[in-house]
């Protein structure tokens, strides 16, 4: 991490409103290639919303986010092209087989090859299950399928929302290895996770407090 160079992905004074009340305010971060950011905070503190703001899915109610110093909202499609977002739900369609589903999402996203998909499935120990329909997989296996998508097509930023939910020992190990390799090759990972995920140092932290509920002041 070269201290002098400007951050690759940064954000200042970010605020987010949902359902009329404010989740958080004044949030900032700065990340360089190879960095990891661990989001912590109690339930309802807005971790998921912050990840959605980082992905460009949700407009912040204040503040801005930059990639290479340029506001990501200038070209949201390009920003979406450089990131993977793994949310609570896997995004896999029950009737398709694991391989078909992974192939589909990798073909839609970027330069994809069947070889790379099979390698991704192997990395998450799903190769022997590749011809099973997704509905036949356990929730842990479906979670691994969603994570396999990270490896099937390249992306600079990984936004992972509770990625370790439902993973067993070996699944967690595969995830940790994948994140380490991603950071090694200059990628950035932002992870919100209650279950502990072992990340190589240095790890930046961002703690979101209990959602500060300020009632918009009204004259009578």
């Amino acid at each position: 991490m070269t201290a002098g160079a400007p951050p690759l992905f940064s954000g200042e004074d970010i605020a987010c409103q949902r359902g009329g009340h404010e989740l958080f305010r004044g949030v900032g971060f700065a990340l360089w290639p190879g960095d990891a950011l661990l989001l912590t905070g109690p339930n309802g503190s807005g971790k998921t919303s912050l990840l959605q703001v980082m992905a460009g899915l949700r407009p912040p109610s204040a503040g801005r986010l930059d990639w290479h110093g340029r506001d990501i909202r200038e070209d949201l499609a390009a920003h979406a092209g450089r990131l993977h977002h793994v949310g609570h739900r896997t995004g896999s369609r029950a009737i398709l087989t694991a391989e078909e589903d992974l192939l589909f999402w990798s073909r839609v996203r970027g330069p994809a090859s069947r070889q790379r998909c099979l390698l991704a499935l192997a990395r998450f120990d799903l190769l022997r299950l590749k011809d099973l329909p997704v509905q036949a997989l356990s929730s842990g296996q479906q979670r691994r399928l969603a994570l396999a998508r990270l490896l099937a097509t390249p992306a600079d930023i990984w936004l992972l929302d509770e990625p370790a939910v439902g993973l067993d020992r070996s699944g967690l190990a595969s995830l940790e290895a994948a994140v380490a390799r991603h950071r090694g090759s200059g990628g950035i990972a932002v992870i919100a996770s209650h279950t502990p995920v072992e990340l190589a140092e240095p790890v930046r932290g961002l703690a979101l407090e209990q959602s500060g509920e300020r009632v918009p002041e009204h004259g009578s």
Binding site: G56, L57, A80, H88, T90, G91, W105, V108, R109, G110
Partner: protein, 215 residues
């Protein structure tokens, strides 16, 4: 462009695996048409047949709208589609084409057969087919908008019909008018104009509705 076809292919693959969905649409279409025949009496149908066929086709197409976006909304795929490099408007268009192929075309194929059953006057068959060939894609386009708007709502099925059927009244009026050769080419021209208008407006509006539903 290949990504566009990748999406259509997935939708078709899923559609073919759920063949029961397609047969349900066709069965419903035939059922509603024959109900009218029993209700009104086949002999009296005569020039009513065009109207009956169009109304039944419209309702049948309504049935299959929820499989446009609801599965993606439930399994989280919608977020991935919104975040994909393919512009959302094209994703919507791909899904509309897939829906038209798995719902509109079967209706188009069955319509003439039902036409015979309802003693559709001989001359109006070509008018019925050209009308429906233009009308069914409009239904898919407007239906996509309705389906996107009600994602996550209570009683989404009823709501889609409430939103879309009024917008489809002009399509019905000109569609039925097209079955009567006396009306000349005007109705078909109006249907074609509505199709172009729907192609211009619906993908944009549907994409906006989808972006809102993902927040």
């Amino acid at each position: 462009m290949t990504r566009f076809f990748v999406i259509i292919l997935r939708e078709l693959r899923i559609g073919l695996r759920h063949l029961s969905d397609i047969s349900a649409v066709l069965a419903f279409f035939a059922l509603v048409a024959t109900l009218f025949a029993f209700g009104v009496g086949p002999l009296a149908l005569g020039d009513l047949a065009g109207g009956v066929l169009w109304t039944a086709a419209l309702l049948a197409a309504m049935l299959s709208l929820d499989r446009l976006f609801q599965p993606d909304h439930d399994d989280g795929g919608l977020v991935l589609l919104v975040l994909s490099p393919v512009p959302l408007e094209l994703v919507v268009l791909a899904k509309v084409i897939a829906h038209w192929l798995t719902a509109g075309v079967p209706i188009l194929v069955l319509a003439p057969l039902l036409g015979f059953a309802l003693q559709l006057p001989e001359g109006s068959l070509s008018g019925l087919l050209t009308g429906m060939a233009l009308g069914t894609p409009i239904l898919s386009l407007l239906g996509a908008l309705g389906a996107a708007l009600v994602l996550g709502a209570r009683r989404a099925g009823v709501l889609t019909a409430l939103l879309i059927l009024p917008l489809v009244i002009p399509v019905l009026i000109f569609g039925v008018a097209a079955t009567d050769p006396a009306n000349g080419a005007a109705p078909v021209l109006f249907l074609a104009a509505m199709l172009l208008g729907a192609l211009a407006l619906c993908p944009w509006a549907t994409a906006a509705a989808l972006r809102q539903s993902v927040l």
